[in-house]
């Protein structure tokens, strides 16, 4: 049923060792799906009837895990035929998908510890659409993965009617990061959330030990104990973050070929992401204050693919953790050729002067709300959040001062933030829709805010005058790109 004149292309399957490699991930998926039952098993009683129930649950868990792995191995088949990548999988609920090469956003090759031991890799062929990796081939031999990758790349090029460029592996790395730079990346990530969660868990645990222990602990929490504890918590979370970042991005290298950009990284789990340059939707550059002071920024490259990595939606398809500031503009231009200006040296349009009052109002309101909740939750310690309310207006001013935007012939650039300075660059020919939003306070001040949607996300421009925003609403359409 291929419709081609030649012999039918045979379907290929996963490597037999995938049974071993996939067992743990499948077990994890089963645990995630049946965690209430397993929790009941752990905390349940130990009567005779309950023991029988526990045994039944354990056997069910084991059978489900092994069964899923076996079915996945036996039913997953893929091939490249009729110029398309085809995948089918499933026994009771079958799914078959045909991917047009032109829809492929990026190809990712992942090798975790089990893959390494068995000489296999996981291939993820990602397209735009829902959150699944449509072409997820969980365990292929490295040689087969290389063959498949080459075949897909040839298809994409044939569709684009391009000549064959030089093999990408010959391109030297445009940027290679040292372990020290990777540790610095982890060190400069925000860890306040982690500390807050750990603190909450700690308080909850004290509560579990009974009122006497909680009361004793409360009395012991004098400022001279609390301050070192806070410092220790932050130091610990920073060290953890630095270690995790070093392992995850170990040996990070970024390469550019004629039509693709490739990132490779990871010590235990090795990842290789190949992104066709024409598929890049937007760039985001994160510069936390510490990272800025060190002279670095992080570059995130988004395509239209909605990827799932390690069971959660991931932030970006391509991430360059640490880029020296003097190379940021050049790398952005390599990733997004439509970018004709240097976003760090060009004069951006500032946020509207009246936007300052809205920024002060909303930031102070949020800080006051948080403070009120904390005071209600803990009348003794909640007042510690009062400085947040006092600092809200100057912080809003700092943030407002650093906002900026620019619409150039090929791109839209926007920047926000003081502690975390973020710069977005969107290719204008990728704009999907443009929205102008105006709340009641903005209406009073004659302001409006433009949101630009591309397939990789939504980017908001700083507040501007409503008339200017109305002009932009029309100007940012793809058809208006070449208009004078």
């Amino acid at each position: 049923m291929t419709g081609s004149e030649g012999p039918e292309v045979p379907w290929r399957g996963l490597h037999p060792l995938s049974l071993a490699v996939n067992l743990l991930p499948q077990a994890w998926r089963t645990v995630r799906g049946a965690w209430p039952l397993l929790l009941a098993l752990v905390v349940g009683g130990d009567g005779l009837g309950l023991r029988a129930l526990d045994l039944t649950l354990l056997v069910t868990f084991f059978v489900l895990t092994v069964g899923r792995t076996l079915i996945h191995f036996l039913t997953l088949r893929y091939r490249v035929a009729d110029g398309r990548f085809q995948v089918k999988v499933g026994l009771l609920s079958r799914s078959a998908r045909v991917l047009d090469p032109g829809r492929i956003q990026n190809v990712e090759i992942v090798q975790n510890l089990f893959h390494k031991l068995t000489g296999l890799v996981e291939v993820r062929v990602e397209t735009t659409g829902d959150g699944s990796s449509h072409g997820l081939l969980s365990a292929l031999h490295e040689a087969e993965a290389t063959r498949l990758r080459a075949e897909l790349r040839a298809l994409v090029r044939a569709q684009a009617m391009e000549s064959t460029p030089a093999p990408i592996d010959e391109a030297p790395p445009a940027l290679a990061l040292t372990p020290l730079e990777l540790a610095a990346y982890g060190f400069t990530r925000r860890t306040v959330g982690v500390v807050a969660v750990l603190t909450a868990v700690g308080l909850e645990l004290f509560g579990r030990f009974g009122p006497e222990v909680a009361e004793k602990a409360g009395r012991a929490m004098t400022p001279d104990v609390l301050l070192p504890l806070i410092v220790l918590a932050f130091a610990g979370s920073w060290l953890w973050s630095a270690g995790a970042a070093t392992l995850r991005h170990w040996g990070h290298a970024l390469r550019f070929s004629e039509d693709e950009l490739i990132t490779e990284e990871g010590l235990f789990t090795r990842r290789r992401v190949e992104i066709p340059r024409g598929k890049v939707q937007l760039l985001r550059i994160d510069e936390t204050l510490l990272r800025r002071l060190m002279g670095y920024g992080s570059l995130l490259i988004e395509t239209a693919a909605i990827g799932v990595a390690d069971g959660r939606m991931r932030a970006a398809e391509g991430l360059v953790p640490m880029v020296p500031q003097d190379r940021l503009a050049a790398l952005c231009r390599e990733a997004l050729p439509a970018l004709a200006v240097d976003p760090w040296s060009v004069q951006l349009q500032p946020a509207h002067p009246r936007a300052l009052w809205r920024a002060i109002f909303s930031r102070t309101l949020r800080a006051a709300g948080l403070c009120a909740v904390l005071v209600l939750a803990s009348p003794r310690w909640g007042w510690a959040a009062l400085p947040l309310v006092i600092l809200a207006p100057p912080m809003a001013w700092l943030d407002w001062r650093r906002q900026g935007w620019l619409v150039s012939p090929g791109t839209v650039i926007t920047r926000t933030g003081f502690w975390l300075r973020q710069t977005w660059v969107i290719s204008r020919d990728k704009v999907q829709s443009v929205h102008l939003v105006q709340g009641p306070i903005m209406r009073q001040h004659g302001l409006g805010r433009i949101e630009v949607r591309v397939a990789g996300g939504v980017v908001g421009l700083p507040d501007m005058g409503i008339h200017e925003a109305r002009v932009l609403l029309d100007q940012l359409r793809p058809e208006a790109r070449c208009a004078p």
Partner: protein
């Protein structure tokens, strides 16, 4: 406007009155019957006002126009929104009819681009024939998805 008004009535009867009633039942022990009565009354009065006024305001502020290159939609009462969806970027167009809309012969038109799961353009309360005409006309216009 009738659909929006009926929708608010359903949410008032099916959600707000039971929730406020339950909260008031438990709240009178904590903050006293007078304050509970005042708070519950205020919430219900606010919802009643929304039921009477909001649909008219929402309808008065809702506009759409199919222009040469894009679909322009204006909506919102407190928070106003103007959405410009280039016709070439439209991936697909849906018409949806809930039970109330089916009774009144109306439909909700949703326009999707490659930008994500939610609709970039949303036109509620269209006459069914007009919604179907728009759906067919807009579906034919997409050519370059920009992806």
């Amino acid at each position: 406007m009738t659909v929006w008004r009926l929708g608010r009535l359903v949410s008032l009867l099916g959600f707000f009155i039971p929730v406020v009633g339950t909260a008031a039942w438990f709240g009178r022990e904590l903050i006293g019957p007078v304050l509970t009565g005042v708070l519950a009354g205020a919430v219900l009065l606010w919802q009643l006002l929304l039921l009477l006024l909001w649909p008219r305001l929402a309808w008065a502020n809702f506009r759409y126009e199919v222009r040469e290159h894009d679909l322009l939609v204006q909506s919102g009462v407190l928070f106003r929104r103007w959405s410009s969806v280039p016709l070439t970027r439209i991936q697909y167009v849906d018409t949806e009819q809930g039970p109330l809309e089916r009774i009144l012969g109306l439909a909700h038109l949703k326009v999707y681009t490659a930008a994500g799961m939610s609709a970039d353009g949303s036109l509620p309360g269209l006459d069914l024939a007009e919604a179907q005409r728009l759906r067919d006309a807009l579906s034919l216009r997409g050519s370059d998805d920009g992806v």
